[in-house]
């Protein structure tokens, strides 16, 4: 194992070090090894294999050893799936307030902005995939565990309404720990709001594809993430309503390792397909194309 590291090091000795991407580089930061510049190497959180960050990025952040699909933030996802040119972001300036005066919420929001470099847990906009127009909402687990508060609900509702109005297909890339507790009931109501917006798109005959990424749970899984005309998940993505620990406490049994994974959900009829990240863009392009015969609707 060590031999491999040294070999690789020689091989790539000329690559300049890069700053660790927020979130994904944390393992590196936790175990500082002075001889390796920060962010140059990355350790897979599933199998522990160490590889060059640059190599990993070329591999779309899928561990080459075990196939683990590491979490992407919204920016990385957009860059990976959408065409290079022409993405227009909506409501980029919309940010959260602290509507309930919840203890510590304002500070936590500020921390999350600094930590993730994002303003909220979702980025919405319009762009193209393989040249086909599409409206997207892309969530980031990096920001506040992708929790849905008023801003996430409002941005997603607006973008669905935009798709409905423009008669464009809609894709939502979900990842979320659930409701934003600090906004209590307002956060819960975003589930109804986004689902109601999807009901209009649905009645109009618009296409909605839900892409479920690791992890998608709670209020997001129990609203828009589950409502796709086509539901796609990335391999290994955890997708479910209640958390594993809560369930284990309820049934007083240990759950199998694959519980709530994409493969488990596939087996139980909750998904149309599990698609490897390398094929995601092409698959979405094909699906969009097959629904474009009526002019995008």
């Amino acid at each position: 194992m060590f031999k491999d590291i040294f070999q690789k090091k020689r091989k790539y000795a000329t690559i300049p070090s890069e700053r660790a991407l927020p979130g994904e580089g944390q393992e590196v930061l936790e175990r500082p090894k002075r001889e390796i510049p920060e962010g140059l190497m990355n350790k897979c959180s599933k199998c522990g294999t160490i590889q060059y960050s640059k190599e990993l990025e070329k591999n779309l952040k899928v561990c080459p050893a075990c196939g683990y699909h590491m979490r992407l933030n919204a920016m990385e996802r957009i860059a990976m799936v959408l065409d290079d040119q022409g993405f227009v972001e909506f409501d980029a300036d919309m940010i959260s307030v602290d509507p309930l005066g919840f203890p510590g919420y304002s500070n936590k929001l500020e921390q999350q902005r600094l930590k993730s470099g994002l303003k909220e847990a979702v980025i919405t906009g319009e762009g193209t995939i393989e040249g086909l127009p599409v409206v997207v909402a892309v969530m980031s687990f990096d920001f506040f565990t992708g929790s849905m508060g008023s801003v996430v609900g409002e941005k997603i509702t607006r973008v669905i309404e935009h798709a409905t109005e423009k008669r464009l297909p809609m894709i939502i890339f979900s990842t979320s720990g659930g409701a934003r507790m600090q906004e209590s009931i307002l956060s819960l109501m975003q589930m109804a709001k986004t689902s109601a917006a999807l009901s209009r798109l649905d009645e109009q005959g618009g296409l909605y594809i839900s892409v479920i990424t690791d992890p998608t749970t709670g209020g997001v899984s129990a609203s828009f993430a589950s409502l796709g005309d086509i539901n796609i998940a990335e391999p290994g993505a955890v997708f479910g309503f209640a958390g594993r620990i809560v369930i284990e406490q309820t049934i007083r049994q240990k759950l199998p390792d694959d519980f709530q994974t994409a493969e488990f959900n596939m087996q139980h009829g909750q998904l149309d397909m599990v698609v490897h990240r390398k094929e995601l863009r092409a698959t979405l392009g094909k699906l969009l194309d097959m629904h474009s015969e009526k002019g995008g609707v």
Binding site: N59, D93, E154, M181, S195, A196, S223
Partner: protein, 343 residues
């Protein structure tokens, strides 16, 4: 008084004193009329004080009171000719959800309730009022049936949340809740929701997409139970009372946030003190709200429901100057080779 809550202890104590005095007077043949009248007056003042100042945490205990009227208790008192219907036509009949046809003020309606058990055995059969997917799907089946026959839908919310078990996950708990949220938005008949006890999270919301959402005075409604929030936020589930206050879960809070339309009063001390009076208050509100929506078209009802939920949420916008920042970020990232060829 039966089933007292801790904050009612001073009342219980004083009632006991009054009763003792009455009995003592009777036994010894002494006239305590004046003293008793004075004590009764003090008792009422204390009662007023205690019951007007019920805190969010106390309401949480009231809403979960074992003797609080359940959906079926209220259905029997509010409606006539209740005929219970069963099953989701896919998997089974979840007893955590009850529903069927009934008459309200002489008119046929569909009524659906989340049903806690009345005792341990009943609670086990009904999963303590926590529905599986088949419960939500049974509810949706009955709602679609109501839609077909053009009759109003009334739902009673009373659950700690959707059942958090492996069987529920396997059968698509997320999908069942999500489907209800989307399909309820499409209904062309009036939908009135009454939160009668605990409105717990997605499990509650899955049957609560109504034109009107009413809450009983001491009911609570939140995204996560105060116990759950306390254990996540402060790693201490015993801080539930503290979380209850911070989370704004009372009917008054929700009315202020315009999440609900009306608070339905409860008899003094809580709904469990007088089932008939509780039912009468609810009945009056239901009839009045249905009357207000009389003659509305299906589209009007859908639009009204859409707008009700559409406006909920609280956001702000950054000052103009910083709007450009995210666009720069997009460019930077699009330029990186993440989108490049896969090797």
């Amino acid at each position: 008084m039966a089933g007292e809550l801790p904050y009612e202890a001073p009342l219980v104590e004083m009632r006991k004193k009054i009763d003792e005095l009455v009995q003592f007077g009777q036994e010894k043949g002494i006239d305590f009329t004046d003293e008793i009248a004075r004590l009764e007056e003090r008792y009422h003042r204390l009662e007023e004080e205690i019951y007007t100042g019920i805190t969010a945490a106390q309401k949480m205990h009231l809403a979960r009171h074992q003797q609080r009227p359940t959906a079926l208790d209220l259905i029997q008192l509010i409606f006539t000719d209740f005929i219970e219907l069963h099953g989701d036509r896919m998997f089974g009949d979840d007893l955590a959800v009850v529903g069927g046809l009934a008459k309200l003020n002489g008119k046929t309606v569909t009524v659906i309730g989340q049903q806690r058990g009345k005792d341990t055995k009943d609670n086990i059969a009904r999963f303590f009022g926590s529905a599986h997917p088949e419960g939500f799907r049974k509810g949706l089946r009955l709602m679609k049936q109501a839609n077909k026959f053009g009759r109003p839908i009334i739902t009673f919310i009373d659950t700690k949340g959707a059942y958090p078990g492996n069987t529920a996950e396997e059968r698509g708990q997320s999908e069942a809740i999500a489907r209800n949220l989307m399909e309820m938005a499409k209904l062309s008949v009036p939908v009135i929701v009454v939160v009668i006890g605990e409105g717990g999270s997605g499990g509650a919301l899955a049957m609560a997409v109504g034109n009107r959402v009413l809450m009983l005075e001491h009911a609570i409604y939140s995204a996560i139970s105060p116990n759950g929030a306390a254990s996540i936020l402060w790693k201490d589930a015993s801080k539930a009372d503290q979380a209850a206050e911070a989370m704004k879960i009372t009917a008054k809070d929700l009315l202020e946030m315009e999440v609900i339309e009306e608070i339905v009063p409860e008899p003094r001390g809580g709904a469990h003190r007088n089932y008939e009076a509780s039912a009468a208050f609810i009945s009056e509100a239901l009839i009045r709200h249905l009357d207000e929506m009389k003659g509305w078209s299906g589209d009007q009802l859908k639009q009204d429901r859409y707008e009700k939920f559409r406006k909920i949420g609280s956001v702000t916008f950054e000052p103009q100057a910083s709007i450009e920042a995210p666009q720069e970020l997009v460019e930077v990232d699009a330029a990186s080779n993440l989108s490049g060829n896969v090797e």
